[in-house]
Symmetry: C2
């Protein structure tokens, strides 16, 4: 007997979805001085994939992305930025998919639906992994943070989508202090610099970095971090959300 | 008798297209110290729209964009940058479309096809309007450069798509010397500065602008422009394409 795959949070009728179109979400997290990607694993397989899904015919694209991310991972109320739309004819390896689908008790309509060509709109979110616990949905038997630097081969073109997202934040971090969503509420200047070094993949000069970041005027300075060490304790900072928003609107970069 | 609308360069069978998906191209041109948008007008109507079309089932998305732009305007071999995917449920006013389609002798299948919901992937190109003559296709009775600052109400959400494209180049021009595709091969520093002022919608300091642009090392200096005027003649410049490419790869901005 074949295993059952439970499409519980999918509407019963695939006709409710727009054909040919899907959404995939890249969620970056930052911990242990490294970037991570949140990835579900398909039930009963070794296939890791981006959390993705389909768009209802009566649903705005941006709303679909938020719903899909919530359905697949439990993450809610995140800022999702549309990244890029992936539309190569060969982006989905249907052979690989068939092998997987054959394993399950899925009806012919669903099989046919899954095998059509999909163009996928990718969205990007950044979160602090300490602030929530990912939840596997019924299509996956795991939902985990995998380190960006050691990703396995994912399904379809999902490695390519993640590479594009990484490239995007590497450029974007020069113009926006993106740490606001990746770091804890309070952080040291050293840990902010480390985040930038990880994303930019190069060392930064400490004095120069601090000068540039403070000049932006988007940080609040707090009490010192009590380290108990022999060296002097560093100050803690947090982002001033109002000034941060003003900064984003100004469209001025800073890290050159 | 109803007028005939000629779908000559469309394959006879609409089944050859991916459903629910379209492509729209924003082409910016620069002349008379202003930005223009290339827009076809639907045959027998006052409806201006972006040049757009559908994606063949066996065609990569990026290739579809290039083909569609060529089919609809005659423009070929342009660098097309994917801009954004527009997916609001209400982005196409089907009532308006119906009034238009009713005017023509179009069969029921085409009518039904045209009235479905489309999510549209927008692409952006920038060209020097002096370098080619736009050609109307069989679906349009005009294909013209309309000034960005005085656009009429276009069909669907096409004004919104253009606004997004304008916002994009306004940010992008700070990090890339985009004039390479908008200006004639040789230009004065004054005309380059004017382009930047038009895109950024603010005045720039002449000395500071010249200093920053020359520092990039992407310009070749040529002979002086002979003006015959009483003032000293300005130098002509051109973009050094190799150095320009190197600059783009470096990902360093400059106009802060």
């Amino acid at each position: 007997m074949k295993a059952k795959l439970n499409f519980e949070h999918f509407r019963p009728d695939l006709e409710d979805y727009l054909p040919s179109l899907s959404v995939d979400c890249v969620v970056f997290g930052y911990k242990n001085e490294a970037l991570y990607v949140l990835l579900p694993r398909w039930t009963g397989s070794q296939y890791w994939s981006l959390p993705g899904g389909f768009i209802y015919k009566d649903e705005d694209l941006d709303n679909a992305a938020a719903r899909i991310l919530k359905d697949r991972t439990g993450l809610d109320n995140l800022f999702l930025k549309q990244l890029h739309t992936f539309g190569r004819t060969q982006r989905r390896n249907v052979k690989e998919l068939s092998k997987y689908l054959d394993y399950f008790d899925i009806n012919t309509t669903t099989q046919k639906w899954s095998r059509q060509r999909f163009i996928s709109v990718a969205y990007l979110a950044m979160v602090n992994p300490d602030t929530f616990v990912p939840i596997s949905d019924s299509l996956s038997d795991a939902c985990e943070w995998l380190p960006l630097s050691e990703l396995p081969q994912l399904v379809f073109d999902h490695n390519e989508i993640i590479a594009k997202a990484k490239e995007y934040i590497k450029i974007q971090i020069k113009y926006e202090p993106i740490g606001i969503s990746l770091l804890p509420d309070k952080f040291t200047m050293k840990s902010l610099q480390k985040l930038y070094e990880v994303v930019l993949e190069r060392k930064l000069d400490r004095g120069n970095f601090q000068k540039k970041v403070l000049k932006l005027g988007v940080l609040n300075k707090h009490e010192k971090l009590i380290t108990g060490g022999a060296y002097r304790s560093p100050y803690l900072y947090s982002f001033n959300k109002e000034k941060y928003q003003e900064f984003l609107k100004s469209g001025i970069g800073f890290l050159h």
